[in-house]
């Protein structure tokens, strides 16, 4: 009983926080999603599935999110893995810390400012202007899905690099020698030893980036210019502009359910891949 009391004290702050900031709002959103929009906006209590029936109206936002979030995750993984590999395995310890700090440095500036920088780089006077100089005219980059993809990969790359770096850094380098000793070429050693043992880092990185991308709204707003919008942008619009709280709640609930299903399936897959190892960090 006393044990229970102590654990209660330890868990109370986080528990209360989760209850007030997550569970209660979710309950409210869940209830609102069955309601109706008031004449002047907001919420009027009701019990109807009308909002859910209306979901196809926001199909484009769902489509963009469900294509660009996984694509962005995969692109970030493909860029982050070689970088993390270099930092953890190849780089001399003398430079490692410096380079790791450089990976974090962008976080010191607001994502808003960094995304605005990309407007210039991808905009008419940036890369398209350079391409025009070598004769490739009329390239449009800004306000395209490509621009949004570049923005999200750029923004979330460190979140992918770090978990992979940690798992590669933890990797016992003698295992690589053992593999070589047993007749494996360096390339086969990578596929048979290095990659499987970095699965926990890859899994964590992908999970972090994917979840955050599913809820992203800032980068599509800035680099998509209202043409490439995510579910997040739809929610901002529904709650703050058109003040259709009931429909907004239905959209939000749908996103939450999609994420729950995706993440559950993903974790099942990863734990099978990792052979039920208990060291899949952050999960």
């Amino acid at each position: 009983m006393r044990q229970l009391g102590r654990n209660g004290v330890l868990l109370a702050p986080a528990g209360i926080w989760l209850l007030v900031m997550l569970v209660l709002p979710l309950v409210v959103v869940f209830i609102f999603s069955f309601g109706e929009r008031g004449a002047a906006g907001g919420y009027v209590p009701a019990l109807t599935l009308e909002q859910y029936a209306n979901l196809p109206a926001r199909w484009t936002a769902f489509k963009n999110t469900l294509i660009l979030a996984p694509l962005g995750t995969v692109a970030a993984l493909l860029i982050a893995y070689p970088l993390a590999y270099y930092l953890a395995v190849r780089c001399s310890p003398k430079w490692r810390t410096t380079l790791l700090i450089l990976v974090i440095v962008p976080f010191w500036t607001s994502i808003l400012i960094r995304s605005y920088a990309w407007i210039f780089i991808l905009g008419g006077r940036g890369i398209p202007a350079l391409l025009a100089m070598v004769g490739i005219d009329d390239v449009r980059l800004i306000n395209t899905p490509f621009a949004v993809l570049v923005g999200i990969v750029y923004g979330y790359l460190p979140l992918m690099v770090f978990p992979i770096f940690v798992s590669l850094d933890k990797l016992d380098k003698r295992l690589l020698e053992a593999s070589s000793d047993l007749g494996s070429t360096p390339l086969r050693t990578f596929w048979q030893v290095t990659l499987p043992l970095s699965v926990p880092g890859v899994a964590t990185g992908c999970m972090l980036v994917f979840i955050l991308l599913m809820g992203e709204f800032l980068i599509p707003a800035i680099l998509g210019g209202g043409k490439v919008f995510f579910v997040g942008n739809a929610l901002v619009d529904l709650f703050l502009q058109s003040r259709n709280w009931a429909f907004g709640s239905a959209v939000a609930m749908t996103l939450v359910i999609i994420m729950l299903v995706t993440v559950t399936v993903y974790m099942k897959f990863i734990s099978r891949l990792g052979g039920q190892r208990d060291d899949i960090s952050l999960m």
Binding site: D172, R174, L175, E177, A178, S179, S180, D181, L182, G183, S184, T185, R188, Q192, V193, P196, L197, G274, G275, R277
Partner: protein
């Protein structure tokens, strides 16, 4: 060893430097097919570097490594017909016991078929007495079992040489003894050349056909355990292979088999030289603790030194005495249980005499 024995590996003037550090210097050694050779020395003596150059993990700075008569300096580790049992085993944590052992077989091109792999893996599992453990995960295995898996993973490839890098360092004393016997037995049954690296003299003495004693990156002496124990060349070897008492001395009269030396206390002793000595040279006189007799009364024949007992440690089959002599300093004496039962134990503070046979004295390099 008979003259017909083939040389399987050879070091010729092998040197390895890491920046300013000379890890191994001018190593010359040939390893005979089927022998059990140990590199013995303290940490940092270059024994691991020597082994890693044989395995192909380090490229020599100078000199040559030969395997089966061919220079292999530029042959990568994965192309050398040798396998290693690593110090902390380096087993693959993501693979089962079976897959760990099958790893080497599966790297071969053309790849052996499933049935062959299964048959070979099951055969070595039997050899290391781990039948039925194939599907287990590595972390489900105890330290001793992991060691057997590491051994199985190496020998399944039928290497020309099996390299063992302090393979028993992580095992407790009792398990280590068992594994030593098992390894020796395994080596005889398989007929594979074993090259062991160890800092444990007992391990080297009990298992090896030959021991290569190293110090400061150099080979100090190579020989059978008995040769090294009975005829060490230098004070270093005598101190590393077993324990010994050392006294500084100057050579009074040098002969090829018999040397007279004057101890610091003025006594003249005769002994067998471990190296080519010259008259007037400063040397070291060595005598093993078990070759010294401890008695209450001075023996009738031969020289004896009066001593007082400083310390007594009961070791079971032996009792170790530390005694002090006015002229020679502190001396370690090992008295077997039986002679102690006959003569009774000596107490700390008691006066006694130590004596020895002249044939037991060795004249060694400082």
């Amino acid at each position: 060893m008979s003259a017909a024995v083939r040389t399987i590996a050879e070091f010729r003037g092998l040197t390895k430097t890491f920046g300013p550090v000379v890890a191994a210097s001018d190593l010359n050694l040939s390893i005979a097919e089927g022998e059990f050779l140990s590199f013995l020395g303290p940490s940092g003596c270059g024994k691991t570097t020597a082994l890693r150059m044989l395995a192909g993990f380090e490229a020599p700075t100078e000199g040559e490594v030969l395997l089966d008569g061919e220079v292999v300096n530029h042959v990568a580790a994965h192309n050398r017909p040798v396998n290693m049992v690593f110090q902390h085993y380096a087993l693959f944590p993501h693979l089962s016991v079976f897959d760990n052992i099958a790893y080497g077989l599966r790297q071969r091109r053309p790849r052996p078929d499933r049935a062959t792999v299964k048959e070979k893996v099951e055969k070595v599992l039997e050899i290391v007495r781990l039948e039925g453990f194939g599907p287990r995960r590595i972390w489900e295995m105890s330290g001793g079992q992991q060691q057997r898996v590491a051994l199985a993973r190496a020998i399944v490839n039928e290497p020309k040489i099996l390299l063992l890098d302090e393979p028993m360092a992580a095992l407790d004393r009792k398990l280590r003894k068992e594994m030593q016997i098992e390894l020796q037995d395994l080596q005889r049954r398989l007929g594979i050349t074993f090259v062991l690296v160890t800092h444990d003299q007992e391990e080297a003495l009990s298992m090896s056909d030959r021991i290569c004693v190293m110090n400061g990156g150099r080979i100090v002496q190579v020989g059978t355990p008995r040769e090294l124990y009975d005829n060490p060349r230098s004070r270093y070897v005598a101190g590393f292979v077993g324990t010994s008492n050392f006294f500084d001395a100057v050579v009074a009269e040098a002969g090829p088999d018999d040397v007279a030396a004057r101890l610091a206390g003025g006594q003249q002793v005769r002994g067998k030289p471990g190296f080519a000595v010259k008259t007037g040279q400063e040397v070291c006189v060595s005598i093993r603790p078990e070759q010294i007799a401890l008695s209450r009364d001075a023996p009738e024949a031969g020289a004896a030194e009066p001593v007082s007992i400083l310390n007594r440690i009961f070791l079971g089959e032996h009792t170790e005495y530390l005694v002090r002599s006015q002229s020679l300093g502190d001396i370690l004496v090992l008295v077997p249980r039986q002679s102690e039962l006959n003569a009774g134990t000596f107490n700390v503070g008691e006066e006694a005499f130590v004596s020895w046979d002249e044939t037991a004295l060795l004249i060694l390099e400082q």
